[in-house]
Symmetry: C2
Subunit: 342 residues, 2 copies
């Protein structure tokens, strides 16, 4: 491995001079600078950023920890984060917690030992508090992304789950739906809670009763609760519409419904939070509350980097509103349809 000493020897200067050339610091005569640069090129020298990090006590590495790298929402977040990190000269260490607290913990340990300069952190849920506190204990700056965690104070970039859900459910009500189900996420995730709250508020505002039998809490990542869905569909008065708390749930539910011979939206409407990426271009089908995912990543990174570099102390909390996009998956319920036609 070639070091600055090799360069120094060949260029007949000291290691310090080489260092100064690399970092453009201090005064150096144009002659030696040129000579050193030439030698570096000839020897294919690449500075060792690990060694640099060790003495500088900063790594120029940031970590992005997300919960599902396969979900188009987080994929786009990652793109925003990556672009922005690169623009500011940071490298990006990627972590995927899979909504799993244990994996998340492993990553936090790894992040700490890597001495990254900061973390853009999408928590798996409320129990991530332990992990976040660990970061705080080590004075490692972080920005919480997409979800907040009770008891943890930090910069945040969040959507507006309650408001988006309210609008989506009100859209269903306006279409004439009276029996609207909620398939939400685990209640230890802030967005899942807020989406349930938004749902309840919308029903209240619409003077509709809240039926606990129409409320499900399942795993965010994948819908496989066929039995629960069955039970709901076999109720005396089954739902005519379903609000799914995220895109993956919606897709799973629609697949389930279809396998039962039910059609969306003819038999039942489905709407959800978060858009579907390329799927929506091919087939604009799902009515959604689309969130500006790229900006989640971009703004999150900017807050993080700014905090690292400026040492800002006050926390900043950004809320990015969703956009309701009405498409074919939501339609009036059958009964109303018949009624209006008659």
């Amino acid at each position: 491995m070639i070091t600055i000493y090799d360069i120094a020897a060949k260029a007949k200067v000291s290691a310090m001079t080489v260092s100064r050339v690399i970092n453009d610091t201090g005064r150096i005569s144009e002659a030696t600078r040129k000579r050193v640069k030439k030698v570096m090129r000839e020897m294919n020298y690449v500075p060792n950023s690990m060694a640099r990090s060790l003495v500088l006590q900063k790594s120029k590495i940031l970590s992005l920890l997300i919960t599902d790298i396969t979900n188009p929402f987080y994929t786009t977040v990652a793109r925003g984060a990556e672009d922005t990190a690169k623009r500011y000269g940071y490298r990006l260490l990627l972590g995927n917690s899979d909504e799993d607290y244990q994996k998340e913990k492993d990553y936090v340990d790894m992040i700490l030992s890597t001495r990254v300069d900061g973390v853009l952190f999408a928590p798996a849920g409320d129990m991530s508090a332990d992990h976040l506190q660990q970061l705080q204990q080590h004075r490692l700056p972080f920005v919480m992304l997409d979800r907040e965690v009770p008891g943890i104070q930090s910069d945040t970039v969040l959507g507006d789950s309650k408001e988006g859900t309210r609008q989506l459910v009100q859209h269903l009500i306006a279409l004439g739906h009276r029996r609207i189900a909620l398939v939400g996420g685990s209640q230890d995730i802030s967005t899942a809670r807020l989406r349930q709250t938004g749902y309840r508020e919308a029903l209240l505002l619409g003077n509709l009763p809240i039926d606990e039998e129409l409320i499900l809490s399942v795993n965010y990542r994948e819908f496989r609760d066929e039995a629960l869905l069955d039970r709901m569909l076999e109720l005396e008065s089954p739902p005519t519409a379903i609000f799914a708390a995220n895109n993956f749930l919606a897709v799973g539910i629609i697949a389930s419904l279809r396998s039962r011979g039910l059609s969306v939206p003819d038999d039942i409407s489905v709407v959800c939070f978060d858009d579907l990426g390329i799927a929506s271009v091919l087939d604009p089908f799902l009515t959604v509350a689309a969130q500006p995912a790229y900006q989640f990543g971009e703004i999150g990174m900017q807050l993080l980097i700014e905090r690292i570099e400026s040492g800002r102390e006050e926390t900043r909390n950004v809320i990015l509103p969703p956009e309701i996009i009405v498409r074919r998956s939501s339609a009036p319920p059958r009964t109303v349809e018949r009624y209006e036609r008659s």
Copy 2:
């Protein structure tokens, strides 16, 4: 920052002993081991992996460089790579070249200076040879992913572009299509070349003439060549089917066709390489040659790690065959349909 010396002092041992406890090396009495561990816990000590890397001359960091983090194919590759890296105790540095040689170069420099142990590398194209050679010069192990680069010898994990394309085009021919267009990628990308070759072979095998007017080479990442498409559609004898060289192109083309009032597959069939992730669950529409993306990432990582850890010298080349999935976007051409019905 807490170091092993702090731990050593408090536990009344030498730094070396602490190091041995951390790494589980050498013989240590159970008593001191316990004492040291206790102190480490009390002081919230986390080893500094940078310092460790510096002396060990290996970082336990691998780099994943892909060309489009937004494409479901690479997203799934990333998931396979990430899972596997984690399983073997490696961290993952993420890079996104955007099919851009300059960005790719920036990442290669960054990778080199980070002293990662290896790279899983999806090259932007043939001109990535420079970058790959740079890696070789520095003896940095890498595995080429998805695309090969002429003149570069290394482990590879590739699909079978020619064969997949041949099958897809033969499927179109079997449906009765005689005028089949190719919308392919830039010819400095190995998969784009092979897909064009497969296309030509299929036509030859089907005794169909090759019409250069039906062959387009555009940017892989996004279809925005409306004028070229227009020209093709206005030919005296326009295509009744289009083979798109990847998923994003297919989606772009379908959107374009629809904006012209053309329906897929009623007016024109479209098939492509690579599936669409969640989009295919929601709406199984596109006929595709689906590649096992997760395995691209998983096997690529395994080859890389094995090469790093075993020092294997011979190169290994894995080919993962695609699976043809016939769906609604391909149907017999109108004329034939009429003919068969009469």
